[in-house]
Protein backbone atom coordinates (compact mmCIF):
# COMPACT_ATOMS: atom_id res chain seq x y z
CA UNK A 1 0.00 0.00 0.00
CA UNK A 2 2.53 2.50 -1.16
CA UNK A 3 -0.06 5.19 -1.65
CA UNK A 4 -1.12 5.13 1.97
CA UNK A 5 2.44 5.45 3.15
CA UNK A 6 3.10 8.29 0.77
CA UNK A 7 0.14 10.34 1.89
CA UNK A 8 0.67 9.57 5.55
CA UNK A 9 4.10 11.05 5.68
CA UNK A 10 3.70 14.17 3.52
CA UNK A 11 7.24 15.28 2.77
CA UNK A 12 7.67 18.46 0.79
CA UNK A 13 7.45 17.21 -2.75
CA UNK A 14 8.21 18.64 -6.09
CA UNK A 15 5.15 19.14 -8.25
CA UNK A 16 4.35 20.96 -11.37
CA UNK A 17 2.27 23.92 -10.43
CA UNK A 18 -1.28 24.14 -11.66
CA UNK A 19 -1.52 27.82 -11.11
CA UNK A 20 0.94 30.53 -12.18
CA UNK A 21 2.10 28.38 -15.04
CA UNK A 22 3.30 29.67 -18.37
CA UNK A 23 3.95 26.49 -20.33
CA UNK A 24 3.66 23.38 -18.19
CA UNK A 25 4.12 24.67 -14.66
CA UNK A 26 7.63 23.27 -14.33
CA UNK A 27 9.35 26.54 -13.52
CA UNK A 28 6.81 27.71 -10.97
CA UNK A 29 6.68 24.27 -9.38
CA UNK A 30 10.45 24.19 -9.07
CA UNK A 31 10.49 27.72 -7.75
CA UNK A 32 7.97 26.85 -5.08
CA UNK A 33 9.94 23.78 -4.10
CA UNK A 34 13.25 25.62 -3.90
CA UNK A 35 11.61 28.73 -2.41
CA UNK A 36 13.07 31.07 -5.00
CA UNK A 37 11.46 33.40 -7.48
CA UNK A 38 9.88 31.67 -10.51
CA UNK A 39 11.49 34.34 -12.66
CA UNK A 40 14.93 33.16 -11.55
CA UNK A 41 14.12 29.56 -12.41
CA UNK A 42 12.83 30.58 -15.83
CA UNK A 43 15.90 32.69 -16.44
CA UNK A 44 18.10 29.75 -15.49
CA UNK A 45 16.29 27.58 -17.99
CA UNK A 46 16.74 30.15 -20.71
CA UNK A 47 20.43 30.56 -19.93
CA UNK A 48 20.91 26.80 -19.94
CA UNK A 49 19.26 26.76 -23.34
CA UNK A 50 22.40 28.40 -24.61
CA UNK A 51 24.42 25.33 -23.65
CA UNK A 52 23.49 23.21 -26.59
CA UNK A 53 19.85 23.35 -25.68
CA UNK A 54 20.30 21.87 -22.21
CA UNK A 55 17.65 24.17 -20.83
CA UNK A 56 15.09 22.82 -23.22
CA UNK A 57 16.07 19.26 -22.44
CA UNK A 58 15.91 19.82 -18.69
CA UNK A 59 12.57 21.52 -18.98
CA UNK A 60 11.21 18.72 -21.06
CA UNK A 61 12.65 16.20 -18.63
CA UNK A 62 11.01 17.84 -15.65
CA UNK A 63 7.83 18.17 -17.59
CA UNK A 64 7.90 14.48 -18.33
CA UNK A 65 8.61 13.20 -14.85
CA UNK A 66 7.00 15.66 -12.47
CA UNK A 67 3.45 14.89 -11.42
CA UNK A 68 0.88 17.57 -11.47
CA UNK A 69 0.23 19.22 -8.17
CA UNK A 70 -2.37 17.21 -6.30
CA UNK A 71 -5.70 18.88 -5.91
CA UNK A 72 -7.78 17.59 -3.04
CA UNK A 73 -11.15 16.21 -3.99
CA UNK A 74 -10.52 16.02 -7.67
CA UNK A 75 -9.97 12.47 -8.89
CA UNK A 76 -6.68 11.98 -10.60
CA UNK A 77 -6.83 10.84 -14.17
CA UNK A 78 -4.22 10.05 -16.68
CA UNK A 79 -2.98 13.00 -18.64
CA UNK A 80 -2.35 11.98 -22.22
CA UNK A 81 -0.64 15.28 -22.90
CA UNK A 82 2.21 14.15 -20.67
CA UNK A 83 3.43 11.96 -23.50
CA UNK A 84 4.29 15.13 -25.37
CA UNK A 85 7.47 15.74 -23.31
CA UNK A 86 8.94 12.53 -24.64
CA UNK A 87 8.61 13.84 -28.13
CA UNK A 88 10.21 17.02 -26.85
CA UNK A 89 13.07 15.02 -25.39
CA UNK A 90 13.56 13.27 -28.68
CA UNK A 91 13.50 16.53 -30.55
CA UNK A 92 15.96 17.98 -28.06
CA UNK A 93 18.29 15.03 -28.52
CA UNK A 94 18.16 15.32 -32.27
CA UNK A 95 18.75 19.02 -31.99
CA UNK A 96 21.72 18.36 -29.76
CA UNK A 97 23.14 15.88 -32.16
CA UNK A 98 22.78 18.30 -35.00
CA UNK A 99 24.27 21.15 -33.01
CA UNK A 100 27.17 19.30 -31.44
CA UNK A 101 27.93 16.45 -33.77
CA UNK A 102 26.74 17.78 -37.09
CA UNK A 103 30.22 18.02 -38.51
CA UNK A 104 31.31 14.51 -37.57
CA UNK A 105 28.67 12.19 -38.85
CA UNK A 106 30.66 9.04 -38.14
CA UNK A 107 30.09 9.21 -34.39
CA UNK A 108 26.63 10.67 -34.51
CA UNK A 109 24.94 7.33 -34.19
CA UNK A 110 27.06 6.14 -31.26
CA UNK A 111 26.83 9.42 -29.39
CA UNK A 112 23.12 9.53 -29.91
CA UNK A 113 22.81 6.12 -28.31
CA UNK A 114 24.99 7.18 -25.43
CA UNK A 115 22.85 10.25 -24.91
CA UNK A 116 19.85 7.99 -24.95
CA UNK A 117 21.54 5.77 -22.34
CA UNK A 118 22.15 8.81 -20.16
CA UNK A 119 18.56 9.90 -20.56
CA UNK A 120 17.27 6.46 -19.60
CA UNK A 121 19.61 6.33 -16.60
CA UNK A 122 18.46 9.73 -15.43
CA UNK A 123 14.88 8.62 -15.93
CA UNK A 124 15.42 5.58 -13.74
CA UNK A 125 17.03 7.66 -11.05
CA UNK A 126 14.19 10.06 -11.15
CA UNK A 127 11.77 7.24 -10.82
CA UNK A 128 10.72 7.78 -7.23
CA UNK A 129 7.30 9.18 -7.64
CA UNK A 130 3.94 7.60 -6.90
CA UNK A 131 3.04 4.15 -8.25
CA UNK A 132 0.66 5.88 -10.58
CA UNK A 133 3.51 7.78 -12.04
CA UNK A 134 5.46 4.57 -12.39
CA UNK A 135 2.64 3.02 -14.32
CA UNK A 136 2.68 5.97 -16.64
CA UNK A 137 6.38 5.48 -17.06
CA UNK A 138 5.82 1.85 -17.96
CA UNK A 139 3.19 2.73 -20.48
CA UNK A 140 5.37 5.43 -21.90
CA UNK A 141 8.22 2.99 -22.49
CA UNK A 142 6.70 0.15 -24.45
CA UNK A 143 10.09 -0.76 -25.78
CA UNK A 144 11.31 -1.86 -22.35
CA UNK A 145 8.69 -4.13 -20.83
CA UNK A 146 11.27 -5.58 -18.42
CA UNK A 147 11.84 -2.05 -17.16
CA UNK A 148 8.16 -1.94 -16.35
CA UNK A 149 8.19 -4.84 -13.91
CA UNK A 150 11.36 -3.38 -12.49
CA UNK A 151 9.68 -0.05 -11.88
CA UNK A 152 6.47 -1.45 -10.41
CA UNK A 153 8.31 -2.66 -7.33
CA UNK A 154 7.87 -0.59 -4.23
CA UNK A 155 10.47 -2.30 -2.14
CA UNK A 156 13.16 -0.19 -0.52
CA UNK A 157 16.12 -2.33 -1.52
CA UNK A 158 14.98 -2.40 -5.10
CA UNK A 159 14.78 1.34 -5.03
CA UNK A 160 18.43 1.45 -4.01
CA UNK A 161 19.26 -1.12 -6.65
CA UNK A 162 17.50 0.90 -9.31
CA UNK A 163 19.24 4.00 -8.13
CA UNK A 164 22.66 2.44 -8.49
CA UNK A 165 21.68 0.91 -11.82
CA UNK A 166 20.56 4.26 -13.14
CA UNK A 167 23.75 5.86 -11.91
CA UNK A 168 25.76 3.18 -13.68
CA UNK A 169 23.92 3.80 -16.92
CA UNK A 170 24.61 7.50 -16.65
CA UNK A 171 28.26 6.89 -15.89
CA UNK A 172 28.62 4.46 -18.80
CA UNK A 173 27.00 6.97 -21.14
CA UNK A 174 29.21 9.82 -20.02
CA UNK A 175 32.42 7.77 -20.11
CA UNK A 176 31.40 6.39 -23.48
CA UNK A 177 30.88 9.86 -24.83
CA UNK A 178 34.33 10.92 -23.75
CA UNK A 179 35.77 7.68 -25.08
CA UNK A 180 34.11 8.16 -28.44
CA UNK A 181 35.37 11.69 -28.81
CA UNK A 182 38.94 11.22 -27.69
CA UNK A 183 40.17 8.99 -30.60
CA UNK A 184 38.90 11.58 -33.07
CA UNK A 185 41.91 13.69 -32.07
CA UNK A 186 39.78 16.72 -32.60
CA UNK A 187 40.42 19.21 -29.80
CA UNK A 188 37.18 20.98 -30.30
CA UNK A 189 35.29 17.74 -30.23
CA UNK A 190 37.05 16.63 -27.05
CA UNK A 191 36.24 19.93 -25.36
CA UNK A 192 32.68 19.65 -26.55
CA UNK A 193 32.45 16.11 -25.30
CA UNK A 194 33.79 16.94 -21.87
CA UNK A 195 31.58 19.99 -21.67
CA UNK A 196 28.59 17.98 -22.67
CA UNK A 197 29.45 15.24 -20.21
CA UNK A 198 29.78 17.80 -17.40
CA UNK A 199 26.49 19.39 -18.31
CA UNK A 200 24.92 15.95 -18.45
CA UNK A 201 26.25 15.16 -14.99
CA UNK A 202 24.99 18.50 -13.75
CA UNK A 203 21.59 17.73 -15.14
CA UNK A 204 21.57 14.33 -13.51
CA UNK A 205 22.65 15.95 -10.27
CA UNK A 206 19.78 18.39 -10.45
CA UNK A 207 17.43 15.52 -11.14
CA UNK A 208 18.83 13.22 -8.45
CA UNK A 209 19.26 15.75 -5.64
CA UNK A 210 15.59 15.82 -4.58
CA UNK A 211 15.52 12.02 -4.50
CA UNK A 212 18.58 11.83 -2.29
CA UNK A 213 17.26 14.60 -0.09
CA UNK A 214 13.96 12.85 0.31
CA UNK A 215 15.57 9.56 1.18
CA UNK A 216 17.74 11.21 3.79
CA UNK A 217 14.84 13.10 5.32
CA UNK A 218 12.74 9.96 5.40
CA UNK A 219 15.48 8.14 7.26
CA UNK A 220 15.81 11.03 9.68
CA UNK A 221 12.07 11.10 10.33
CA UNK A 222 12.14 7.38 10.99
CA UNK A 223 14.99 7.71 13.46
CA UNK A 224 13.26 10.57 15.27
CA UNK A 225 10.15 8.46 15.49
CA UNK A 226 12.10 5.62 17.03
CA UNK A 227 13.68 7.93 19.59
CA UNK A 228 10.27 9.31 20.55
CA UNK A 229 8.97 5.79 20.88
CA UNK A 230 11.83 4.84 23.19
CA UNK A 231 11.23 7.89 25.37
CA UNK A 232 7.57 7.07 25.62
CA UNK A 233 8.34 3.52 26.62
CA UNK A 234 10.76 4.75 29.25
CA UNK A 235 8.19 7.15 30.67
CA UNK A 236 5.53 4.45 30.69
CA UNK A 237 7.85 2.08 32.51
CA UNK A 238 8.75 4.75 35.04
CA UNK A 239 5.12 5.67 35.68
CA UNK A 240 4.21 2.04 36.03
CA UNK A 241 7.08 1.08 38.31
CA UNK A 242 6.90 4.05 40.63
CA UNK A 243 3.88 6.31 40.35
CA UNK A 244 1.20 3.65 40.11
CA UNK A 245 2.69 1.62 42.90
CA UNK A 246 2.97 4.67 45.12
CA UNK A 247 -0.63 5.59 44.44
CA UNK A 248 -1.73 2.07 45.31
CA UNK A 249 0.22 2.24 48.58
CA UNK A 250 -1.29 5.63 49.36
CA UNK A 251 -4.80 4.25 48.87
CA UNK A 252 -4.04 1.40 51.21
CA UNK A 253 -2.55 3.67 53.88
CA UNK A 254 -5.07 6.45 53.43
CA UNK A 255 -5.69 6.82 57.18
CA UNK A 256 -2.00 7.00 58.09
CA UNK A 257 -1.19 10.62 57.36
CA UNK A 258 2.52 10.33 58.06
CA UNK A 259 2.94 7.37 55.75
CA UNK A 260 0.96 9.02 52.98
CA UNK A 261 3.03 12.17 53.26
CA UNK A 262 6.24 10.21 53.20
CA UNK A 263 5.18 8.22 50.14
CA UNK A 264 3.92 11.28 48.32
CA UNK A 265 7.08 13.23 49.10
CA UNK A 266 9.36 10.42 47.98
CA UNK A 267 7.42 10.02 44.77
CA UNK A 268 7.39 13.75 44.11
CA UNK A 269 11.14 13.89 44.60
CA UNK A 270 11.88 11.04 42.24
CA UNK A 271 9.51 12.32 39.55
CA UNK A 272 11.00 15.79 39.86
CA UNK A 273 14.51 14.45 39.54
CA UNK A 274 13.44 12.43 36.57
CA UNK A 275 11.76 15.36 34.84
CA UNK A 276 14.04 18.28 35.57
CA UNK A 277 17.37 17.11 36.85
CA UNK A 278 20.24 15.64 34.92
CA UNK A 279 21.48 12.40 36.35
CA UNK A 280 24.39 13.36 38.54
CA UNK A 281 26.16 10.66 40.43
CA UNK A 282 26.10 11.21 44.20
CA UNK A 283 29.57 9.73 44.41
CA UNK A 284 30.97 12.30 42.00
CA UNK A 285 29.11 15.55 42.55
CA UNK A 286 28.72 17.57 45.71
CA UNK A 287 25.16 18.75 45.00
CA UNK A 288 23.94 15.29 44.09
CA UNK A 289 25.51 13.84 47.25
CA UNK A 290 23.78 16.46 49.42
CA UNK A 291 20.46 15.84 47.73
CA UNK A 292 20.83 12.12 48.24
CA UNK A 293 21.58 12.61 51.94
CA UNK A 294 18.55 14.89 52.26
CA UNK A 295 16.37 12.34 50.49
CA UNK A 296 17.50 9.61 52.86
CA UNK A 297 16.64 11.73 55.86
CA UNK A 298 13.28 12.65 54.34
CA UNK A 299 12.43 9.01 53.84
CA UNK A 300 13.68 7.80 57.19
CA UNK A 301 12.23 10.50 59.43
CA UNK A 302 9.18 11.60 57.42
CA UNK A 303 10.14 15.28 57.33
CA UNK A 304 10.57 17.64 54.39
CA UNK A 305 14.05 18.93 53.61
CA UNK A 306 14.16 22.06 51.49
CA UNK A 307 17.43 21.74 49.60
CA UNK A 308 19.03 24.74 47.89
CA UNK A 309 22.47 24.28 46.41
CA UNK A 310 24.25 27.14 44.66
CA UNK A 311 27.04 25.94 42.40
CA UNK A 312 28.55 22.51 42.33
CA UNK A 313 31.91 20.76 42.34
CA UNK A 314 33.60 17.41 42.23
CA UNK A 315 33.33 15.16 45.21
CA UNK A 316 36.37 14.02 47.15
CA UNK A 317 37.12 12.68 50.59
CA UNK A 318 36.88 16.03 52.38
CA UNK A 319 33.72 16.99 50.55
CA UNK A 320 32.23 13.63 51.43
CA UNK A 321 33.01 14.34 55.08
CA UNK A 322 31.18 17.66 54.78
CA UNK A 323 28.19 15.88 53.30
CA UNK A 324 28.22 13.36 56.14
CA UNK A 325 28.33 16.16 58.71
CA UNK A 326 25.42 17.87 56.96
CA UNK A 327 23.52 14.61 56.99
CA UNK A 328 24.10 14.25 60.73
CA UNK A 329 22.81 17.79 61.26
CA UNK A 330 19.69 16.95 59.26
CA UNK A 331 19.14 13.79 61.28
CA UNK A 332 19.47 15.73 64.54
CA UNK A 333 16.97 18.31 63.33
CA UNK A 334 14.58 15.58 62.22
CA UNK A 335 14.81 13.73 65.51
CA UNK A 336 14.92 16.50 68.07
CA UNK A 337 13.50 19.69 66.61
CA UNK A 338 9.96 18.37 66.25
CA UNK A 339 9.18 20.23 63.03
CA UNK A 340 8.02 19.21 59.59
CA UNK A 341 10.46 21.17 57.50
CA UNK A 342 14.23 21.66 57.62
CA UNK A 343 16.19 23.94 55.29
CA UNK A 344 19.48 22.90 53.81
CA UNK A 345 21.46 25.56 51.99
CA UNK A 346 24.85 24.92 50.46
CA UNK A 347 27.02 27.30 48.53
CA UNK A 348 30.10 26.49 46.50
CA UNK A 349 32.53 29.39 46.45
CA UNK A 350 36.03 29.47 45.07
CA UNK A 351 37.58 29.55 48.53
CA UNK A 352 35.20 27.47 50.56
CA UNK A 353 32.16 25.27 50.71
CA UNK A 354 29.50 26.23 53.18
CA UNK A 355 26.46 24.30 54.30
CA UNK A 356 23.69 25.59 56.55
CA UNK A 357 21.11 23.36 58.14
CA UNK A 358 18.30 25.26 59.78
CA UNK A 359 15.15 24.29 61.58
CA UNK A 360 12.60 26.32 63.52
CA UNK A 361 12.06 23.71 66.15
CA UNK A 362 12.60 23.29 69.85
CA UNK A 363 16.26 24.27 70.00
CA UNK A 364 18.61 23.19 72.73
CA UNK A 365 21.27 24.44 75.08
CA UNK A 366 24.72 23.47 73.86
CA UNK A 367 26.20 23.54 77.36
CA UNK A 368 23.54 21.16 78.63
CA UNK A 369 24.46 18.43 76.14
CA UNK A 370 26.09 15.67 78.08
CA UNK A 371 29.61 14.62 77.28
CA UNK A 372 28.74 11.08 76.33
CA UNK A 373 26.40 12.21 73.52
CA UNK A 374 28.54 12.01 70.41
CA UNK A 375 26.10 13.11 67.74
CA UNK A 376 27.01 16.75 67.71
CA UNK A 377 30.52 16.64 69.08
CA UNK A 378 31.88 13.67 67.13
CA UNK A 379 29.88 13.58 63.94
CA UNK A 380 29.68 17.29 63.27
CA UNK A 381 32.28 19.35 65.14
CA UNK A 382 34.95 16.66 65.25
CA UNK A 383 34.50 15.49 61.69
CA UNK A 384 34.71 19.01 60.33
CA UNK A 385 37.89 19.87 62.24
CA UNK A 386 39.55 16.58 61.23
CA UNK A 387 39.12 17.58 57.58
CA UNK A 388 40.38 21.11 58.01
CA UNK A 389 37.02 22.80 58.25
CA UNK A 390 34.98 24.08 61.13
CA UNK A 391 31.42 24.00 62.35
CA UNK A 392 29.28 26.41 64.34
CA UNK A 393 26.06 25.53 66.03
CA UNK A 394 23.64 28.21 67.00
CA UNK A 395 20.64 27.21 68.94
CA UNK A 396 18.16 28.99 71.13
CA UNK A 397 15.46 27.31 73.07
CA UNK A 398 12.22 27.90 71.18
CA UNK A 399 13.86 29.61 68.25
CA UNK A 400 15.31 26.64 66.43
CA UNK A 401 18.79 25.59 65.50
CA UNK A 402 21.20 26.40 62.75
CA UNK A 403 24.25 24.27 62.05
CA UNK A 404 26.87 26.02 59.91
CA UNK A 405 29.57 24.00 58.24
CA UNK A 406 32.56 25.52 56.46
CA UNK A 407 35.25 23.77 54.46
CA UNK A 408 38.09 25.82 52.93
CA UNK A 409 39.03 24.89 49.39
CA UNK A 410 41.95 25.27 47.04
CA UNK A 411 40.96 27.51 44.25
CA UNK A 412 41.62 25.19 41.31
CA UNK A 413 39.36 22.41 42.54
CA UNK A 414 36.21 24.43 42.04
CA UNK A 415 33.89 24.17 39.13
CA UNK A 416 30.66 26.04 39.02
CA UNK A 417 27.40 24.28 38.42
CA UNK A 418 27.17 25.57 34.89
CA UNK A 419 30.43 24.16 33.68
CA UNK A 420 29.68 20.55 34.32
Amino acid sequence: MGVTIDTARQPRRLYRARDHRVVAGVASGLARHLRVSPLAVRAAFVILLGFNGLGLMLYAGFWAVLPYERVTGEPRRRDVSQLVPFIAIGLGLILLQVLVLGRNSSVTGTAGWLVAVVAVGAGIIWHESTPERRRQWTEALPRFPWLGTFLEETDRRLFLFRFIGGGLLVAVGVIGMVAVYVPAENNEAVVNGVLFALLGLLGVGVVAAPVLWRTVSQLRAEREGRIRETERAELAAMVHDQVLHTLALIQRNADDVKAVQRLARGQERSLRNWLYKPTGSPTERFAAALEEAAAEVEDTYAIAVEVVVVGDRENDERVAALVMAAREALVNAARHAGVGTVSLYAEVEPEQLSVFVRDRGAGFDMDAVEDHRHGVRGSILGRMSRHGGHAEIRSEIGDGTEVRLFLPMERDAVTSGRER
Partner: protein
Protein backbone atom coordinates in the same frame (compact mmCIF):
# COMPACT_ATOMS: atom_id res chain seq x y z
CA UNK B 1 -9.53 42.88 58.76
CA UNK B 2 -12.97 43.89 57.55
CA UNK B 3 -14.69 42.29 54.64
CA UNK B 4 -14.41 45.21 52.28
CA UNK B 5 -10.67 45.32 52.84
CA UNK B 6 -10.24 41.76 51.67
CA UNK B 7 -7.93 41.21 48.76
CA UNK B 8 -9.40 40.43 45.37
CA UNK B 9 -7.65 37.41 43.89
CA UNK B 10 -7.92 35.88 40.43
CA UNK B 11 -6.98 32.27 39.65
CA UNK B 12 -5.39 31.13 36.39
CA UNK B 13 -4.83 27.40 36.13
CA UNK B 14 -5.79 24.81 33.55
CA UNK B 15 -6.75 22.24 36.18
CA UNK B 16 -10.28 22.80 37.43
CA UNK B 17 -9.71 20.57 40.45
CA UNK B 18 -6.78 22.64 41.54
CA UNK B 19 -8.70 25.90 41.12
CA UNK B 20 -11.51 24.51 43.22
CA UNK B 21 -9.03 23.45 45.91
CA UNK B 22 -7.31 26.82 46.05
CA UNK B 23 -10.65 28.62 46.09
CA UNK B 24 -11.82 26.53 49.02
CA UNK B 25 -8.58 26.93 50.95
CA UNK B 26 -8.23 30.65 50.34
CA UNK B 27 -11.88 31.46 50.89
CA UNK B 28 -11.27 32.37 54.53
CA UNK B 29 -8.52 34.87 53.72
CA UNK B 30 -9.32 36.55 50.40
CA UNK B 31 -12.05 37.05 47.81
CA UNK B 32 -11.59 34.93 44.71
CA UNK B 33 -13.13 37.18 42.05
CA UNK B 34 -12.59 35.02 38.99
CA UNK B 35 -11.00 32.04 37.36
CA UNK B 36 -9.59 31.24 33.95
CA UNK B 37 -8.22 28.08 32.42
CA UNK B 38 -6.61 29.39 29.24
CA UNK B 39 -4.40 32.31 28.32
CA UNK B 40 -7.04 33.98 26.18
CA UNK B 41 -9.69 33.60 28.87
CA UNK B 42 -7.29 34.93 31.49
CA UNK B 43 -6.39 38.01 29.47
CA UNK B 44 -10.00 39.05 28.89
CA UNK B 45 -11.33 38.18 32.35
CA UNK B 46 -8.48 39.74 34.32
CA UNK B 47 -9.04 42.95 32.41
CA UNK B 48 -12.72 42.83 33.40
CA UNK B 49 -12.26 41.73 37.02
CA UNK B 50 -9.30 44.02 37.88
CA UNK B 51 -8.10 41.90 40.81
CA UNK B 52 -5.35 42.90 43.23
CA UNK B 53 -3.38 39.70 42.76
CA UNK B 54 -3.43 37.06 40.05
CA UNK B 55 -2.33 33.55 40.97
CA UNK B 56 -0.74 32.36 37.78
CA UNK B 57 0.05 28.84 36.65
CA UNK B 58 3.26 28.46 34.66
CA UNK B 59 2.45 25.59 32.35
CA UNK B 60 -0.73 25.82 30.36
CA UNK B 61 -1.47 24.30 26.99
CA UNK B 62 -1.66 27.53 25.00
CA UNK B 63 1.40 29.48 26.06
CA UNK B 64 1.43 29.46 29.84
CA UNK B 65 1.78 32.11 32.50
CA UNK B 66 4.40 34.01 30.57
CA UNK B 67 1.96 34.78 27.78
CA UNK B 68 -0.59 36.11 30.28
CA UNK B 69 2.03 38.26 31.98
CA UNK B 70 3.27 39.70 28.74
CA UNK B 71 -0.25 40.47 27.57
CA UNK B 72 -1.33 42.12 30.82
CA UNK B 73 1.72 43.97 32.07
CA UNK B 74 1.52 46.99 29.80
CA UNK B 75 -2.23 47.53 29.95
CA UNK B 76 -2.77 46.73 33.65
CA UNK B 77 0.35 47.62 35.60
CA UNK B 78 -1.57 47.78 38.88
CA UNK B 79 -2.39 44.06 38.79
CA UNK B 80 0.25 42.01 40.58
CA UNK B 81 1.13 38.47 39.64
CA UNK B 82 2.17 35.64 41.91
CA UNK B 83 3.26 32.50 40.11
CA UNK B 84 1.87 29.32 41.62
CA UNK B 85 3.28 26.28 39.93
CA UNK B 86 4.02 22.64 40.47
CA UNK B 87 7.34 23.16 38.75
CA UNK B 88 10.30 24.61 40.58
CA UNK B 89 12.66 24.20 37.64
CA UNK B 90 15.10 27.09 37.39
CA UNK B 91 14.00 28.03 33.88
CA UNK B 92 10.36 28.35 34.88
CA UNK B 93 11.06 30.35 38.02
CA UNK B 94 13.51 32.79 36.47
CA UNK B 95 11.42 33.04 33.30
CA UNK B 96 8.27 34.07 35.17
CA UNK B 97 10.09 36.50 37.43
CA UNK B 98 11.76 38.10 34.46
CA UNK B 99 8.41 38.42 32.73
CA UNK B 100 7.22 40.46 35.71
CA UNK B 101 5.78 38.13 38.34
CA UNK B 102 6.26 39.51 41.85
CA UNK B 103 6.87 36.15 43.39
CA UNK B 104 6.94 32.45 42.81
CA UNK B 105 5.61 29.73 45.08
CA UNK B 106 5.10 26.03 44.46
CA UNK B 107 1.80 24.23 44.77
CA UNK B 108 2.93 22.31 47.84
CA UNK B 109 2.72 25.55 49.85
CA UNK B 110 0.34 25.52 52.80
CA UNK B 111 -2.85 27.61 52.57
CA UNK B 112 -1.72 29.96 55.34
CA UNK B 113 1.63 30.55 53.69
CA UNK B 114 -0.10 31.15 50.37
CA UNK B 115 -2.44 33.69 51.93
CA UNK B 116 0.56 35.42 53.50
CA UNK B 117 2.38 35.44 50.17
CA UNK B 118 -0.63 36.95 48.41
CA UNK B 119 -0.83 39.66 51.04
CA UNK B 120 2.83 40.45 50.70
CA UNK B 121 2.63 40.65 46.91
CA UNK B 122 -0.46 42.86 47.11
CA UNK B 123 1.46 45.25 49.32
CA UNK B 124 4.09 45.61 46.64
CA UNK B 125 6.64 43.31 48.17
CA UNK B 126 8.38 40.38 46.54
CA UNK B 127 7.96 36.79 47.62
CA UNK B 128 11.18 34.84 47.57
CA UNK B 129 11.26 31.19 48.42
CA UNK B 130 14.64 29.82 49.54
CA UNK B 131 14.85 27.98 46.24
CA UNK B 132 14.22 31.13 44.24
CA UNK B 133 16.90 32.92 46.23
CA UNK B 134 19.25 30.07 45.38
CA UNK B 135 18.47 30.40 41.67
CA UNK B 136 19.10 34.11 41.76
CA UNK B 137 22.41 33.65 43.55
CA UNK B 138 23.32 31.07 40.96
CA UNK B 139 22.29 33.38 38.12
CA UNK B 140 24.27 36.30 39.47
CA UNK B 141 27.20 34.22 40.66
CA UNK B 142 30.41 36.16 40.17
CA UNK B 143 31.80 35.12 36.83
CA UNK B 144 34.93 37.03 35.98
CA UNK B 145 34.88 35.80 32.37
CA UNK B 146 31.43 37.08 31.58
CA UNK B 147 31.30 40.68 30.37
CA UNK B 148 28.73 42.75 32.17
CA UNK B 149 27.03 45.37 30.03
CA UNK B 150 25.79 47.55 32.85
CA UNK B 151 27.48 46.73 36.13
CA UNK B 152 25.17 48.97 38.14
CA UNK B 153 22.17 47.08 36.92
CA UNK B 154 23.43 43.58 36.54
CA UNK B 155 25.42 43.07 39.70
CA UNK B 156 23.98 42.42 43.08
CA UNK B 157 25.43 44.46 45.89
CA UNK B 158 27.09 42.60 48.72
CA UNK B 159 24.19 43.48 50.97
CA UNK B 160 21.64 42.13 48.53
CA UNK B 161 23.70 38.98 48.21
CA UNK B 162 23.78 38.60 51.98
CA UNK B 163 20.03 39.04 52.20
CA UNK B 164 19.52 36.45 49.49
CA UNK B 165 21.84 34.01 51.24
CA UNK B 166 19.87 34.30 54.43
CA UNK B 167 16.64 33.86 52.49
CA UNK B 168 18.07 30.73 50.92
CA UNK B 169 19.03 29.48 54.36
CA UNK B 170 15.40 29.60 55.35
CA UNK B 171 15.34 32.86 57.34
CA UNK B 172 12.21 34.95 57.51
CA UNK B 173 12.40 38.69 56.75
CA UNK B 174 12.33 39.65 60.40
CA UNK B 175 15.06 37.14 61.23
CA UNK B 176 17.19 38.58 58.43
CA UNK B 177 16.62 42.04 59.81
CA UNK B 178 17.75 40.87 63.23
CA UNK B 179 20.76 39.02 61.84
CA UNK B 180 22.02 41.96 59.78
CA UNK B 181 21.01 44.67 62.25
CA UNK B 182 18.78 46.43 59.74
CA UNK B 183 15.06 47.12 59.68
CA UNK B 184 12.53 44.83 58.03
CA UNK B 185 11.76 47.69 55.65
CA UNK B 186 15.38 47.67 54.51
CA UNK B 187 15.28 43.93 53.96
CA UNK B 188 12.20 44.37 51.83
CA UNK B 189 13.90 47.11 49.84
CA UNK B 190 16.88 44.87 49.15
CA UNK B 191 14.64 42.05 48.03
CA UNK B 192 12.64 44.36 45.77
CA UNK B 193 15.87 45.63 44.26
CA UNK B 194 16.97 42.09 43.53
CA UNK B 195 13.67 41.45 41.82
CA UNK B 196 14.00 44.62 39.77
CA UNK B 197 17.51 43.69 38.73
CA UNK B 198 16.34 40.25 37.79
CA UNK B 199 13.68 41.70 35.54
CA UNK B 200 15.89 44.29 33.96
CA UNK B 201 19.29 42.72 33.91
CA UNK B 202 21.23 41.83 30.84
CA UNK B 203 19.00 39.68 28.74
CA UNK B 204 21.76 37.74 26.98
CA UNK B 205 23.45 36.95 30.21
CA UNK B 206 20.43 35.37 31.84
CA UNK B 207 19.14 33.59 28.79
CA UNK B 208 22.55 32.08 28.32
CA UNK B 209 22.48 31.06 31.92
CA UNK B 210 19.13 29.38 31.45
CA UNK B 211 20.33 27.62 28.34
CA UNK B 212 23.48 26.41 30.04
CA UNK B 213 21.44 25.32 32.98
CA UNK B 214 19.35 23.05 30.85
CA UNK B 215 22.46 21.48 29.39
CA UNK B 216 23.91 20.77 32.78
Amino acid sequence: MTDNARLRVFLVDDHAMFRAGVRAELGAHVDVVGEASTVAEAVSRIAAATPDVVLLDVHMPDGGGRAVLEAMRKSHPQVRFLALSVSDAAEDVIGLIRAGARGYVTKTISPDELAAAIKRVAEGDAVFSPRLAGFVLDAFAARPDAPVADPELDQLTNREREVLRLLARGYAYKEIAKELFISIKTVETHVSNVLRKLQMSNRYELSRWAADRRLV
